[in-house]
Symmetry: C2
Subunit: 420 residues, 2 copies
């Protein structure tokens, strides 16, 4: 069965279609933090942040079904749904961020955010880290180092070394925040010298794709000051940390204590329904909308808005942010207590965990972590790897993940480590 | 109520949020070809192609609700849904086009299509018409002339004069197809001379945004030959003509009798669910996927696939393509029989109609057409305008639009014209 699906994928989707795991799983059903494959095998989902409030949450499903049966059009007509949602979502934000453009994917949101910064500053230079991923449009994929962009990287993009808790930029943990900021300042100056000017730094506030490094909570303060001083905008890509996952805060940038000019969010917003948003202050939004008459046909449609409103309701009613804070502390303790010679560091930022494996405290044990992921899939636990060396377990479960689930996972990882 | 919603939009969405009509309508319910506003007023929808098989079609709603309750993940796991859909959709295509990438918006689809052409040719030059719209990512918006792109238009883009039945490119109706092709050839050569090289022509096969001009059915044959001879790819943007709307054919390029290398489709695919696709031959798909590991989190998810499969089922079972052919001929006759001194030409390509108004056979009567649209809204008919002079009624209803609806619309237009 699985073989035949892989054959069909190759025939219908072409080569290099990404799958997870050496033997890709064929998932047919989901409920809460659980997924089932076509053989009836159950997996604990320790990875998927799209199903933010749990797979197939009945309130989200009901909201989608109800609204789809009544109306699904676009924002060229007036409708309360999109307004109710933006009202609710912006109420969770500070720093004067009170307006939104609704779109369908995080890539679309980041593609707009880059243009917003260009509209505000009149400049085109962009800075990101050299181990990140912000999306897949032609423009946003310029910020990815996984593959060289088609046609070569644009000359107005600068990638600065990503921070790392074990291998600090500049070689010194204590000075890393200043070094990172200094590198951003140098890149901004370089963009000015090259004639592009500096428009923005786009950043995931917890450096999720970079490996979720353990950093001081004020790590980004010097960088935020640097960006401001250089006349650029700070874009906080909250696709991974946003919507309560931090536990301590609803947004990553609030946990890190800096004021972004633009916030983008996507995957978790609609619990699987394709929806994303760019959030900004009115001055930033106005600068963009004055020069670009952006309209997104599907963006903010009544069904998307209904799904998103239901997600906010569930986060609140089921106290999922509070659960994230609680489970974060509990599971981090359990992960730190795991025993294996290669286990170098376990870390967490809310309901998002990294467990780093090295052979000697520094050298990434990527193959080891890869085998561990596969072993855990065999044991019925879905997770994956991040980091430059692909040596860090990435644990980013749906938000209803509980203490009980944390115990199941920690026990399974230890059992896998014991036989590794 | 309407005033308050407009105020909320300005506060929450910022300035220059596009709406239809001088007094924007507040739509709260839809069913088939009908929409209702918050006062219970009913409108005949003569415009929306997103609700391709009719607003809130029960089979599509049921498919979405059922699948959303069972599973909604992504294509890194195996699932039949996306494969069943690509199988069914590619079966409607010829010219060796047998593979697809599923995404969420037509903009994303066109953004990928441009990169596919660049991957195949190793060149970056793009040609489009000078009165088109293909989407709103940073890259695709370079092809729009509505607003100058932020940061200026890229140097690798050339826009050729759009064809027009009344004001032919080159001044001669009989020679327009050759002149248009010659302009494409010159632009391709210019891109080669500039060092970008020529990668593709992106085109809507019926020139929908350009004004749906009345052109011979073999109009694009010389252009297709020219593009091929110049080593470029032909991208057929089928967001408007595709999925049976042509009546005579399932796809616009088949109605026009040319072989595209890449086909993109979006709005109508999921009847409002945010889904779109890029379709290509295996050699084109392979060239792209070898150099760019594209993955779209929401693209081709089980719910999107279920919605899209239901749309194909309804098109077939309710014979909507056949209905389009039938209603196209009938409504075109009725539109041609309308009487007003400014009425210059009524035209149709399947379930897509343009009614052009000029003051003297050539000078666009844009204000007149604008007033007419507003009058028709007052009468309970939703449509809009296209064309460089915004002087062409755009009638592009959901596909279940019937002879009865055509009569209602034609009668209403004549009544409006009688008092104009």
């Amino acid at each position: 069965m699985t073989e035949s699906l892989l054959d069909r994928r190759a025939r219908l989707m072409g080569p290099n279609i990404p799958t997870f795991y050496r033997t890709p799983v064929h998932i047919v059903r989901g409920e809460g933090v659980w997924l089932w494959d076509s053989d009836g095998r159950r997996y604990l989902d320790c990875y998927n942040n799209v199903a933010h409030v749990g797979h197939c949450h009945p309130r989200v499903v009901a909201a989608i079904a109800a609204q789809a049966a009544v109306l699904n059009t676009h924002t060229r007509y007036l409708h309360e749904g999109v307004l109710d949602y933006i009202d609710r979502l912006t109420a969770t934000l500070s720093h004067g961020i009170s307006q939104a453009i609704m779109v369908c994917t995080g890539s679309e949101a980041n593609d707009i955010a880059l243009r917003m910064a260009q509209a505000v500053t009149g400049k085109t230079g962009i800075i990101a880290t050299d181990a990140t991923y912000h999306g897949n449009t032609m423009a946003v994929s310029q910020l990815s180092t996984r593959r060289q962009p088609i046609g070569g990287r644009w000359p107005n993009v600068r990638l600065v070394p990503a921070p790392d808790g074990l291998r600090p930029v500049g070689g010194d943990v204590a000075g890393q925040a200043q070094t990172f900021a200094a590198n951003v300042a140098a890149a901004a100056q370089d963009l000015e010298n090259a004639g592009f000017g500096f428009s923005c730094l786009m950043i995931c506030p917890v450096f999720a794709n970079e490996g979720l490094p353990l950093l001081p909570s004020d790590f980004l303060h010097p960088t935020a000051a640097t960006v401001r001083a250089a006349g650029g905008l700070m874009i906080s890509d909250e696709v991974q940390p946003g919507l309560g996952r931090m536990g301590s805060h609803f947004w990553g940038h609030d946990a890190l204590g800096f004021a972004p000019d633009i916030v983008t969010v996507g995957k978790p917003m609609g619990n699987g329904h394709p929806v994303a948003a760019v959030l900004a202050r009115p001055d930033v939004m106005g600068a963009f909308r004055e020069v670009f008459g952006y309209f997104n046909t599907f963006g903010g449609n009544p069904v998307s808005a209904a799904a998103c409103l239901a997600v906010l309701d569930v986060i609140k009613d089921e106290e999922l942010q509070e659960n994230a804070a609680c489970v974060s502390a509990y599971l981090l303790d359990r992960l730190r207590a795991l025993r294996h010679p290669f286990l170098t560091e376990a870390r967490a930022t809310g309901m998002f965990f990294g467990v780093e494996f090295t052979t000697d405290g520094l050298t990434p044990a990527g193959d080891f972590a890869g085998d561990l992921v596969e072993d855990l899939v065999e044991r019925g636990f879905l997770l994956n790897r991040i980091g430059r060396g692909a040596n860090i377990l990435k644990i980013r479960p749906p938000m209803p993940f509980s203490i009980k689930h944390a115990d199941l996972l920690a026990d399974a990882i230890q059992a896998a480590l014991d036989t590794a």
